[in-house]
Subunit: 300 residues, 2 copies
C-alpha cells in the first residue's frame, strides 16, 4: 500500500488543524478522500515516529488529491491530527466528540480551548488562573485574553513573571510557592486551568477558587493526587478533566485563533536536532514548542 503522505511536504506544528477523515488509513489510496493521512500501519513509519516523539500533529501542503477529495485542492494547507481508531458509532463520535473515543492523540490548542468552553470559563467578566507556563499554559493565556477574561498565571518560578505579563499579556502573576501571595488570592478566581503534569497539591488551587469555581485539569500527573472533599462541598466547587477536542470544535478553535491572531510560540528545528530538543524539553528550556521542519531536513 502506498503512503501518500510521503508526497506531501510535511511540517510538524501546532497551528493548523484542518482535518482529514480518521478512517483514511483503512482504505486503499484510490479510495482515499484526502491526500494527507496519518497511518499507524507497518508501511507508515513516519507518523508513528512523530507520534512517538511527541504529541503532535502534521501540517503540510497538499500535493496530490484523490478522486473523492472535496475539501482540499493541491496547494492547500492542511493538518492531519493523528486521530485513529474512532469508532464512528458511539455517542461521542456521533456528537463530534470523537476525541473521547479510543486511541486519540492530544493536541495543544484544542486541549486548552475545549475545556475553557466546556466549563464556561470563556466569558469576559471572569477571572481565571493558568497553572504552568508551558506549551499548554501559554496558549491558555492567549485564548483567555482573547475571550476577555482576567488572567492570572500561577507558576513555581518567579522568573516567569516578566514573560507572563509582558510577553503574553497576563493580568496578574502568582508564585505558587509564596504562601503570602497565595493567601492573598484565596477566593478570587472563577476557574483555573491546570496544565502541570508533575504531582502537585490541589488544595492550594482549590482555595484560590471562588464559590462554584472550577479547577480544570489538562495535565496528567502519574500518581493520584490528594483531594479534600469538604472544601468542594462548602464551596460547590469541582475538579474536572478534559482531553483535546473533536474535529468540529477543533475547527472552531482554529477559526477563533485565526480571527484573534493567536499562534503558538515555536522554535523551528531540523530533524537532526531532535535529541538536543528532547534534552532541552526535559529541562523546560523551550518557548513553547519545538517544530520539526521535516520537509527540508529529512528525506522520506
Amino acid at each position: 500500500m502506498g503512503s501518500t503522505w510521503r508526497k506531501a511536504k510535511v511540517v510538524l506544528g501546532l497551528n493548523l488543524c484542518v482535518y482529514v477523515p480518521r478512517t483514511m488509513d483503512e482504505k486503499d489510496d484510490d479510495e482515499s478522500p484526502e491526500v494527507l493521512r496519518c497511518g499507524d500501519g507497518d508501511d507508515e513509519t513516519l507518523p508513528l515516529l512523530l507520534y512517538n516523539f511527541s504529541r503532535h500533529e502534521i501540517v503540510g501542503i497538499v500535493t496530490e488529491v484523490g478522486s473523492d477529495v472535496t475539501k482540499f485542492r493541491v496547494g492547500d494547507k492542511a493538518a492531519v491530527r493523528c486521530m485513529v481508531g474512532g469508532c464512528d458509532g458511539c455517542d461521542d463520535c456521533k456528537n463530534g466528540l470523537e476525541s473521547y473515543c479510543r486511541d486519540t492523540i492530544f493536541t495543544y490548542g484544542i486541549t486548552v480551548y475545549s475545556p475553557l468552553k466546556y466549563y464556561g470559563l470563556d466569558r469576559p467578566s471572569l477571572s481565571v488562573g493558568v497553572v504552568g507556563l508551558g506549551g499548554l499554559g501559554h496558549l491558555a493565556v492567549k485564548f483567555l485574553k482573547a475571550f476577555g477574561v482576567k488572567v492570572t498565571v500561577i507558576s513555581t518560578s518567579p522568573r516567569k513573571e516578566k514573560e507572563a505579563r509582558e510577553g503574553l499579556g497576563a493580568d496578574a502573576f502568582l508564585v505558587s510557592r509564596d504562601s503570602e501571595q497565595m493567601k492573598a488570592a484565596i477566593g478570587t478566581m472563577d476557574g483555573i486551568i491546570d496544565t502541570v503534569s508533575a504531582v502537585h497539591p490541589l488544595q492550594p488551587l482549590i482555595d484560590l477558587l471562588k464559590n462554584h469555581g472550577k479547577l480544570v485539569m489538562v495535565g496528567a500527573p502519574e500518581k493520584p493526587l490528594e483531594l479534600q472533599v469538604f472544601p468542594l462541598l462548602v464551596g460547590r466547587k469541582l475538579v474536572g478533566g478534559s482531553a483535546t477536542g473533536g474535529m468540529q470544535e477543533t475547527q472552531e478553535m482554529i477559526d477563533f485563533a485565526a480571527e484573534h491572531s493567536i499562534t503558538a510560540d515555536t522554535e523551528l528545528i531540523p530533524m537532526s536536532y531532535i535529541n538536543t530538543a528532547i534534552e532541552r524539553l526535559l529541562k523546560g528550556d523551550v518557548k513553547y514548542r519545538f517544530v520539526i521542519d521535516i520537509a527540508n531536513t529529512m528525506e522520506a
Copy 2:
C-alpha cells in the same frame, strides 16, 4: 429578649422547609417579621441543642405572628432552617445562594435536590447512581425517580437491595464490593451522587461514569481521598461538591416534593430516646431519619 420559638409547637423534621428570614435573631421580637425563629444566642438554647444533636431543621405550627408578618398566619406549618450569619451582601447571598455564605447548616432534601439540578442530573433520559442508602441517599433515589431518571443504588451491603428496589423503586442495585458487578457496570452512568462520609475509593465510582460523567460528592470524608487525574482527562469527567441550597431553591424543592408526594422516611421518637437514637445512628440502624417530637415530649 423573649424567645418566641418557645411558643410554637416544634417538631424536628425534614419535610417542611418554608423559611423565615435569617436576620430575625438580630431583631427585637416586636420587629420580627415572622414568629418562628432560630436563635444562636444565650437565651435560645433549644435550637443550639438541636443543632448540636444533628444537622436539622425545626418544623412547627405558627402560634403567634408579629405585626410585620406577611407570609404566615397562626396555624400555618412552617420550618426554620437555622441559617444564621448570611451577610446578605455577597454575590452568593444576592443570588439566592446564601447557603454558600458562612455559618450555614446542612439539610437533607435540598442537599440532594440542589446538586442534581446544578449538575444537570435531573433529566429523564439519564442514568444516575446513588452511593449510600441513608438519610441523603434514600431521598436522592426518590427525587431521581420523580425526575424520571434511571436509578442505580450502589451500596457495600447486599442486604439493602430489597429495600432499594422494592421500598424506593430503584431500577438497579450494585454491591460496590462485588468486583464482577462493578466491572459489568463500567461506563454506564451519566452521573453519581455520593452520600458516603466514610473514607472510600473514588476511582471505582469514576469508572462507572460514561464519558463526560459527573461524580457529585455530598458526603464529606474527613481525610483526603485519592484522585487519579488521567481518567478525568480522557473521559472529560468531573468530581464536584455541593452543600445544601439557598432559600429560593429550597422552596422550589419543597414545592416539587409536594407535587410528587416525596417525603423522607422517618421514625418519630421522644426526646428521652435521644441517647439510644445516637447509638442506633452510629450502627446505621435507622430508616432513614429520626424525628424528635419536641412539642409533646419536652417542656421548654
